[in-house]
Amino acid sequence: MEDQKIVDLYWERAESAIQETQKKYGKYCYHIAYAILYSNEDAEECVNDTYLRAWNAIPPAKPSRLSTFLGKITRHLALDRLDKHHAQKRSGPITLALDELSECIPDAASGLDPIDEIALGDAINAFLAGLPLKTRQMFVRRYWYLSSIKDIARDVDMSESAVKVTLMRTREAFRLHLEKEGIVI
């Protein structure tokens, strides 16, 4: 079913909206949640919460891209859930991604400026805007979808080492970008 029709079902308050969402985007949301939580049970609960959030948000929301709308909700819920479960449950792909991202954080000792998430998000988008398409896809796959290097390499038809090198170089450029913008997290 087309996204627009699914959104219409939400607006009509038809319960089939959830079924159609589950059918079309269940795996997608599960993938996002699992990459963060690394637990079947938690990921499934998170996806169910996503449907509920979507039900409460539409209307008034009328998302133009239902996939990313749901994906963002799932990701947000999964990160919240991860916070609650705290460090003892933190393992899997997110640990690696967090470690890699830590390279991008400019040295606080240099006395740059603390910044909020939204401004940081702006800086990330400004950075992404300047990246070549394939590099941007790899960066977003790794740090938004938390995909494994192996999966990314398969999908962009590159070797894993080439993906790693490209990501490493992009992280370095990202670090420089944050530094240039005077951003400290």
Partner: protein
């Protein structure tokens, strides 16, 4: 938790980017190709291991005597010893035992460039039709009079020139009738430059006769011959006819872009170049180069300066170019690394921070952060090293340095720590720090003779322990310094009177909420500070010096995020105005202008602008405020 915050901030990524990277949509290659590749790799690996498994490694630096006839032999010798890394294991077998995971390949794959948009530049052989009769109007609020700084916004009395992430825009200055005259992308395909541009680092200059834009365009080359190579394109654009802008000259220099200035029609361009795995038969891997259009050529051996003891494998290179023709007047390279650059009317001061470790009794180690400051004269069109000095602490940015009547003034945050390292039986090393963070942090102001490097005056720990220097501004024989305990969000502002170096006097404001990230003279004896309030939101404050001390006269606070780049602020001292782009958490992206009437700030403008505040700039011309931001352009009659 910092990286977690970064990960969470990834949640704000635009839908467009998420859609294009959707795992379900991305093309998957056939499985047979993957297995074929893996099989081929395994075969190669097994063959290579079979051949080299037990060959002992050579542990002496490579013999470079074959290059004895090279004019760069002294550089080769120095770099050879410094860049050679002794193998960790005796042979490949040991290395294999130590872990197959260490056998990593570094394959560089082609990446695609985004499509450029908009019209392209005119052909170089298409002459401009108009002669420029414009007058140059500087909008960069320079640190030093006559030393012009690059930015993404410049203006003449007729046109506004603006650049955002490699897109160039030219607008006419005609009040309500102002319009976009020209726009194009300066980006080039990967095939052309062999890499991709850092669009966000682009900046440019407008020549004093308003006929030439000189654009600085850093990029990275990712070809297979180099692990990575940072370069800078410098492009001269003829803007005599702003509707038909033409590229007239392009040169490329090696190194990551550090900084630039224009002084009296001469462009000073500074880069940092890292040497990795030099191949001494290929000069491009270990020498700074410049391409004037006829291929890369190395800097002359006479202009490469080596210190007595070589400790760095990074060059700082400086090119002195004609601003419009880009002809090289002088160049120099130093084997050192530079971080912050301050440029006075005739000297470049480049800083390099390092940590000095001193072994102490009972196995303790003391660390002390220091900054080396090297001076390079560029007077009379030649680059001449003038020596260097070292001060304790680190400098915040270029505004922490200033040259005045033969004296270099520097403000630093000093950082010391004392710790003991314990090596455990399993090889792990743990450190126990015995100096707590607060007591190890201090402040210092130095006044140094630039010819003799003698310290003429020094003020140590003028701020309470634990406070770091957050902003500095020198103005003649005055210095203004804001220090803060960043985590506690409180700041005193200090006023130094440096007119008599044997009797430096200082006044301060006492503790105020928040802290300033930029300080600037606001005219009429006022000092303007832009920074954070106690909630880490925007705070703009005006200070005034009085007999008793320094007082805060007025403050404006808003629940908003803002750019911390000083160049993005519009400051009009005559009318006591300040303007800047913000992200208002209630209203979204806005451009605001505040008027200070001697008692308080008043918002005279607050308009929506669909542009990131990082890219917003403005100029006030005949009562009209011209605001640019990304592809947005607005003209507002400020006094209506």
């Amino acid at each position: 938790m910092k990286n977690k915050k970064l990960l969470r901030a990834m949640g704000y990524i635009d839908d467009q980017y998420l859609t294009e990277a959707d795992p379900r949509a991305m093309k998957k290659s056939p499985k047979w190709r993957k297995w074929t590749t893996i099989a081929a790799c395994i075969c190669l690996l097994v063959s290579a291991l079979g051949l080299y498994l037990f060959l002992p490694y050579d542990t002496s630096p490579p013999d470079v005597s074959q290059y004895a006839d090279s004019e760069y032999y002294h550089v080769i010798q120095g770099l050879n010893a410094l860049t050679y890394q002794k193998p960790k294991y005796k042979n490949n077998f040991q290395a294999l035992l130590a872990g197959l995971s260490s056998l990593k390949g570094a394959v560089v794959e082609d990446v695609e460039m985004p499509e450029t948009n908009g019209p392209s530049l005119g052909s170089p052989d298409t002459p401009g039709e108009e002669n420029s009769d414009q007058t140059y109007e500087e909008v960069t609020d320079n640190q030093v009079d006559g030393v012009i700084e690059g930015d993404i916004f410049k203006r003449s009395d007729k046109y506004l020139y603006y650049m955002c992430v490699s897109n160039l825009y030219v607008y006419s200055i005609e009040k309500e009738d102002s319009e976009l005259l020209f726009s194009c992308s300066l980006d080039r395909s990967r095939e052309e430059i062999g890499g991709w541009y850092f669009g966000q680092q682009f900046e440019f200059y407008l020549s004093s006769d308003c006929t030439t834009l000189t654009v600085i365009m850093p990029f990275v080359e990712d070809n297979k011959n180099h692990w990575e190579r940072y370069l800078v394109d410098v492009v001269s654009l003829d803007v005599t006819d702003p509707t038909n802008i033409r590229e007239t000259k392009r040169i490329t220099v090696t190194g990551a872009y550090l900084s630039s200035r224009v002084v009296d029609g001469e462009l000073l361009l500074m880069t940092n170049m890292q040497i990795r795995n030099p191949d001494f038969s290929d000069e491009s891997t270990f020498l700074p180069q410049i391409n004037m259009g006829n291929g890369f050529e190395c800097i002359s051996a006479d202009n490469i300066m080596l210190p007595d003891t070589l400790t760095s494998t990074r060059y700082t290179t400086v090119f002195l170019l004609d601003e419009t023709t880009l002809e090289v007047k002088s160049d120099a390279a130093f084997l050192s690394y530079s971080q912050e650059v301050y440029v006075s009317r005739d000297s470049i001061y480049a800083t390099s921070q390092y940590t000095e470790r001193t072994e102490q009794a009972y196995g303790y180690t003391k660390t002390d952060v220091k900054t080396e400051i090297a001076r390079l004269s560029y007077a009379n069109g030649t680059l001449t090293p003038m020596g260097k000095t070292t001060v304790r602490g680190s400098v915040k940015n270029q505004y922490s340095l200033d040259e005045y009547h033969g004296v270099l003034r520097v403000v630093t945050t000093t950082r010391t720590a004392q710790f003991k390292e314990t090596v455990w039986s399993n090889g792990n090393v743990s450190s126990s720090v015995i100096t707590n963070e607060t007591s190890g942090i201090g402040t210092a102001l130095y006044c140094i003779d630039i010819d003799t490097w003698e310290t003429l005056a020094e003020v140590k720990n003028f701020a309470p322990a634990g406070e770091t220097v957050e902003s500095v501004r020198f103005d003649g024989d005055k210095a203004y310094v804001c220090t803060a305990v960043v985590l506690e969000l409180s700041d005193p502002v200090f006023f130094f009177d440096l007119s008599d170096l044997s009797n430096i006097t200082v006044k301060d404001t006492g503790i105020i909420d928040g802290f300033s990230l930029s300080l600037v003279n606001f005219g009429n004896g006022y000092l303007l500070g832009v920074g954070f309030n106690g909630n880490r939101m925007l705070k703009i404050e005006v200070y005034e010096e009085s007999e008793a001390g320094v007082v805060s006269v007025a403050a404006y606070e808003k629940n908003a995020a803002f750019s911390t780049n000083y160049k993005s602020y519009f400051i009009d001292r005559e009318n006591q105005l300040i303007g800047l782009g913000i992200y208002d958490y209630n209203q979204g992206y806005r451009y605001i202008v505040l008027h200070f009437d001697g008692f308080a700030f008043r918002e005279v403008l607050n308009v929506p602008i669909g542009a990131n505040y990082l890219y917003c700039r403005a100029a006030l011309i005949d009562g009209y405020l011209y605001i640019v931001g990304e592809d947005q352009f607005q003209v507002v009659n400020l006094w209506n």
